[in-house]
């Protein structure tokens, strides 16, 4: 499925860039935002998951794939109310086949090769949809101190953020934050749970 040469090449390019720059690539500096304390994110996850119905055919082409989400939202009976789509000003939905979580090895913040297509997919989407904002949430497993884990989670999120920036995503679109060990995806104190918890989640807002 994913063996298209273009993707393979860009994955290679990402790896080369990441390898060459190590962890020293600077994040784009962005003015401080003073946001209100609200539960802004309840919307974020539903935004990311919503509108997915149209994306089923988006595997067909590469960089513009994300744009395909503007196509009619349903195939069956879609022709009855044609004016709705034209009126819509909202951004394209995130492609439904694009994973919203990637996983990391213990004590590592390196993006594993199998997850680089995910990072790339988000980069494509963000490049096309410049008004979309992404929050990268870094997480760790429960082992170790809470604050040190918070810093490790931050490092994971920023490692993804750097990869996106290398792929041309502007810094203003991406915020890296960390939850450390505080919100595990899986409960339990074994490696199975730990693996699911060492992650970065992509949350669009």
């Amino acid at each position: 499925m994913k063996s298209r040469p273009m993707i393979a090449m860009s994955v290679l390019a990402v790896s080369l860039l990441l390898g060459a720059c190590g962890s020293r690539v600077k994040l784009n500096e962005v003015a401080v935002e003073d946001r209100n304390i609200t539960g802004a994110n309840a919307a974020a996850s539903s935004g990311a998951a919503g509108g997915a119905g149209s994306a089923s055919g988006s595997g067909a082409s590469s960089a513009q794939g994300a744009g395909a989400a503007l196509a009619p939202a349903t195939s069956a009976g879609a022709s009855i109310a044609p004016s709705d789509l034209a009126a819509r000003k909202g951004p394209a939905a995130v492609p439904s086949d694009l994973a919203l979580v990637i996983y990391f090895d213990y004590d590592s913040f390196e993006i594993k090769p199998e997850f680089q297509p995910v990072v790339q997919g988000h980069a494509r989407y963000l490049s096309v949809n410049k008004d979309r904002k992404l929050v990268l949430e870094g997480h760790t497993d429960e082992r170790g101190g809470r604050e040190y884990n918070l810093a490790l989670g931050q490092k994971r999120a920023e490692s993804v953020s750097r990869a996106l920036s290398v792929l041309g995503v502007t810094g203003a679109q991406v915020e890296s934050v960390s939850f450390g060990q505080e919100t595990p995806a899986a409960t339990g104190s074994d490696e199975v749970a730990f693996q699911k918890n060492r992650r970065v989640e992509f949350r669009y807002r």
Partner: protein
């Protein structure tokens, strides 16, 4: 044995706002200290009228300090007006003896009196009287323990100080303030999102903490008088690990606003633009300020694994504090600046350690494997930390030699992030 003190810790129920669910905790002292003063603490006369076993709280306080050993009082009925039978108490092995009384007053409050004797010298060392409401009886017990401690040890006791900690139960996160023995816990903040890293201001008037209520870590400062939180840092990225400068004027914290987890100072009153204290391409976090105002100790992975460093309070060069161990996190500095307590990882066990900065000697203080968040008592004699025992979260204290460890609070849910507050001002 009667070395237990059973009290009920009121824990929030999962869904209902008021204090509903109950969990038991006990103060349990085990271990042998080097030179403990043997003291007899018979029940106060009339103690049965009070809803609070005052003498048991006094006894647990003294035992937890590691400086005292309670001698069986053998059901003696004595009070502060009794003549000391020094031969009897010496025969029972007590060098010191405390006796007192509680009487219920007409207005519903209680009159509590006590007297302390030196049984060896047959000497009256003084006493006190309190007229208090029912809710202050625990406080009186701590005051009595402080009186005894100060008379016999010659330095200030910490029994009337407070601690803070965080619980998680059924998706509700609660920030608590309790007596130093974990008793009388009062919730000061609730959140459906995690709360971590509470930190007392040097005067005890404020608590800084990290809350994820905006789906990212931000720093808040809670005014203990009004109970109101104020947003201190919600810069882009993560804002965490708040610690107060010795004068209470600044909050030192880890911000990722410029990329990476880096240490900044923020004016605690005005807020405003943070001042970066140190620059590295690595993790720098968990800052903690020494009481003399000279140093900020912190954790950095600049060498590849987390190590403890210190820098001048104004920032600048980092100086490595070599513990000889590979993985070191969560430093705390003793009030006199002589020791740091920290957590080291050894074979996947996270264990509390103490380093004497003058001799560089490093000693493990626990035999548990999930120790977290050490902090010193304000007199520097005890360390409060969180750990797990038999799969339960537990708050513990230990003496600096690790000989006397006491379980304060435990529950089946999560209880963690304790920090010992300052002396009351």
């Amino acid at each position: 044995m009667t070395g237990f003190l059973n009290r009920r810790l009121l824990v929030l129920g999962a869904l209902s706002a008021p204090l509903t669910a109950r969990a038991q905790f006990r103060v349990e002292v085990s271990g042998l200290g080097m030179a403990q003063l043997p003291i007899a603490l018979p029940a106060l006369r009339g103690e049965g009228v009070a809803p609070q076993a005052v003498s048991a709280v006094v006894r647990a306080d003294l035992e937890r300090s590691g400086m005292f050993r309670a001698v069986e009082a053998g059901g003696a009925v004595v009070d502060e007006t009794s003549q000391l039978d020094s031969a009897l108490w010496r025969q029972r092995g007590a060098d010191f003896m405390v006796a007192g009384s509680i009487s219920a007053l007409a207005n519903g409050s209680f009159d509590v009196r006590f007297r302390l004797w030196d049984a060896v010298r047959a000497q009256d060392l003084g006493g006190q009287a309190f007229a208090v409401t029912r809710s202050d009886l625990r406080g009186v017990a701590h005051r009595i323990a402080d009186f005894i401690y100060e008379k016999l040890i010659g330095e200030k006791g910490v029994f009337s100080t407070r601690i803070t900690f965080v619980t998680r139960a059924g998706g509700r996160h609660t920030l608590w303030v309790a007596d130093a023995d974990g008793g009388n816990p009062q919730p000061v903040r609730f959140s459906p999102e995690p709360i971590i890293s509470p930190s007392w201001s040097p005067s005890g008037s404020h608590l800084a903490y990290v809350s994820f209520e905006s789906r990212k870590p931000d720093i808040f400062v809670l005014d203990m008088k009004t109970g109101r939180p104020r947003l201190m840092a919600n810069f882009r990225g993560s804002n965490s690990a708040p610690a107060w400068s010795a004068d209470g004027r600044q909050i030192v914290a880890t911000l990722s606003r410029d990329g990476g987890s880096q240490i900044f100072a923020i004016d605690a009153t005005l807020g405003g633009e943070p001042r970066r204290l140190i620059q590295s391409g690595s993790i720098d976090t968990e800052p903690v300020c020494s009481a003399d105002g000279r140093w900020i100790y912190f954790v950095s992975d600049r060498s590849g694994s987390p190590q403890i460093y210190r820098m001048a309070t104004s920032g600048g060069q980092a100086e490595w504090v070599n513990t000889g161990l590979r993985y070191n996190i969560s430093p705390a500095v003793s009030p006199d600046g002589r020791f740091i307590a920290f957590v080291a990882r050894l074979d996947n066990a996270f264990r509390l350690h103490l380093m004497d900065l003058s001799t560089r000697a490093v000693t493990p203080l626990s035999d548990t494997a999930a120790d977290e968040s050490p902090s010193f008592s304000p007199n520097g004699r005890l360390i409060l930390y969180a750990t797990q025992q038999q799969g339960r979260d537990q708050l513990m204290t230990t003496t600096l030699d690790g000989r006397i460890r006491a379980a304060l609070l435990g529950q089946n849910g999560s209880i963690r992030d304790p920090q010992w507050g300052p002396y009351a001002q």
